[in-house]
């Protein structure tokens, strides 16, 4: 699994929970929750989606580390690559 594949999975997951937004336009260091108006329900759905796409289980205590796109991708790369 490459970093690019992970990034694509994340972008696709974001598109699912925020269908009206264009994930390609999100800056890597922008606060995802604010930029996309995501609530805790959406965020959980995003993680469930990533679990289905990438097979990764993210524990609750790690949620707060996942603020930006960059955070999310790096975190997943560490766990998967």
């Amino acid at each position: 699994m490459t970093e690019e594949q992970i990034r694509q999975a994340v972008l696709s997951g974001l598109a699912e929970i925020a269908p009206e937004a264009d994930p390609e336009e999100i800056g890597p260091r922008e606060n995802l929750r604010e930029e996309l108006d995501i609530d805790s329900y959406d965020f959980l759905n995003l993680l469930i989606g990533l679990n289905e796409k990438l097979g990764v289980e993210i524990p609750e205590e790690d949620y707060e580390k996942l603020v930006t796109l960059e955070n999310l991708v790096s975190y997943l790369v560490l766990r998967l690559v």
Binding site: P19, E20, D39, S40, Y41, L44, I48, N51, E57, E60
Partner: protein, 372 residues
């Protein structure tokens, strides 16, 4: 003979559009089965039928016209009743066309088949003008237009405005507030979720809704309807939960029988409800059955929410963000995660004593999360 009418899907709803039938004349229907799709300012809803029987006659065809609440859309015969004498056709009776005598005569003269026309008259009736248009070879009536997102949002805003204005005008609200120590609830959730795979994890909202149901067991006067100058306490607890739509607008669909469901069932129901709310696929009963509403703006960082009651309910619970605060207990100072909970209630139905007891019961329910 029962009548299936255009339902009222909210306090302020006056008209609805019949979008589609899910059954036809001659079909058997059971209580709770979805019989039609209706569109209002708030979106598309699946409407259930509340009796067992056979659809006798479809009186109104789907169309773009807004029909007043109460319009008879179909007749339903209870199983035990005798069927109407057959019309002489071997196949199930064709739905009777609503067409004026003048229009019917003109249609015959012009050799236009009225069954192919979209009626523009009252309740979808075919008018003389419709027949004339068809006779002149004009294009057939357009299919139901997809509401542009802006129209839809404007319509929803109007709906909300009407309901909230009415609430403010008619209901004498009183407000109470309390702070709830969420440390035990959060600790319990953390432990539970650590053991669960991601699909099974509980969001705090699930705990909160269940706790509201528990508190209502103590103060049932807040779970009811104001109707005909008096309070009607309801046994069932159908708790409406405020769901924000992704691009503006708010809908409060109800979760049925909250007191009878486990936390896992509530999690699944809440998830399903939010998804269907955002996709515009709610059921009519989810819009009309709520006995109380909970509005939680904690995610957005708001600490205190003072709600506006949705008539004919008599209360609304507001839950804010959980914040770490200094907390004194038995002379010692510590820091606890605190949530502000408010109650706005109808002073015709209850008074501050009821409200205070409810908030106290809510607080205690959240201090014993393992019992929820």
């Amino acid at each position: 003979m029962g009548e299936f009418i255009m339902p009222s899907l909210g306090a302020d709803m006056k008209t609805g559009i019949l979008v589609a039938w899910r059954v036809g004349a001659g079909d058997h229907v059971r209580h709770g089965e979805i019989i039609a799709e209706v569109e209002t300012d708030k979106g598309l809803f699946e409407v259930e039928v509340f009796e067992d029987g056979v659809v006798e006659r479809i009186l109104v065809q789907p169309g773009p016209e807004k029909m007043p609440v109460g319009t008879v859309l179909a007749t339903i015969r209870a199983e035990a009743e005798v069927a109407e004498p057959p019309t002489g056709e071997a196949t199930p009776a064709k739905p009777r066309l609503k067409i004026s005598p003048a229009a019917r005569k003109r249609a015959a003269e012009c050799q236009v088949d009225p069954a192919t026309l979209q009626g523009s008259g009252q309740q979808g009736a075919i008018t003389l003008a419709d027949v004339e248009r068809a006779a002149e070879g004009e294009a057939p009536a357009e299919p139901l237009p997809q509401k542009a997102p802006d129209d839809f949002r404007a319509g929803m805003r109007r709906s909300i405005a009407a309901a909230m204005s009415r609430s403010n005008r008619e209901i004498p609200h009183y407000y109470l507030e309390t702070e709830i120590d969420m440390s035990r609830a959060l600790a319990w959730l953390k432990e539970e979720n650590a053991r669960r795979s991601i699909k099974e994890r509980l969001l705090p909202a699930v705990l909160l809704i269940k706790a509201v149901a528990k508190a209502l067991e103590r103060v049932p006067e807040l779970n009811g309807r104001w109707h005909e100058e008096r309070l009607q306490i309801k046994k069932e607890m159908h708790i409406a939960f405020a769901v924000a739509l992704r691009q503006g607008g708010l809908i409060t669909p109800a979760i049925h029988q909250v007191d009878r469901k486990s936390l896992d069932q509530l999690r699944d129901d809440l998830s399903d409800l939010i998804a269907r709310t955002r996709a515009g696929r709610l059921r009519a009963s989810e819009m009309t059955d709520a006995t109380i509403t909970v509005t939680s703006l904690g995610d957005l960082g708001v600490e205190t929410v003072y709600g506006v009651i949705y008539p004919p309910q008599v209360a609304i619970v507001g839950l804010g963000r959980i914040v770490e605060r200094p907390w004194a207990e038995r002379g010692l100072l510590g820091v606890r995660p605190i949530m502000r909970a408010t109650l706005a209630a109808d002073h015709r139905a209850t008074d501050g004593h009821h409200g205070a007891r409810f908030l106290e019961a809510l607080s205690r329910a959240l201090e014993e999360p393992e019992k929820l």
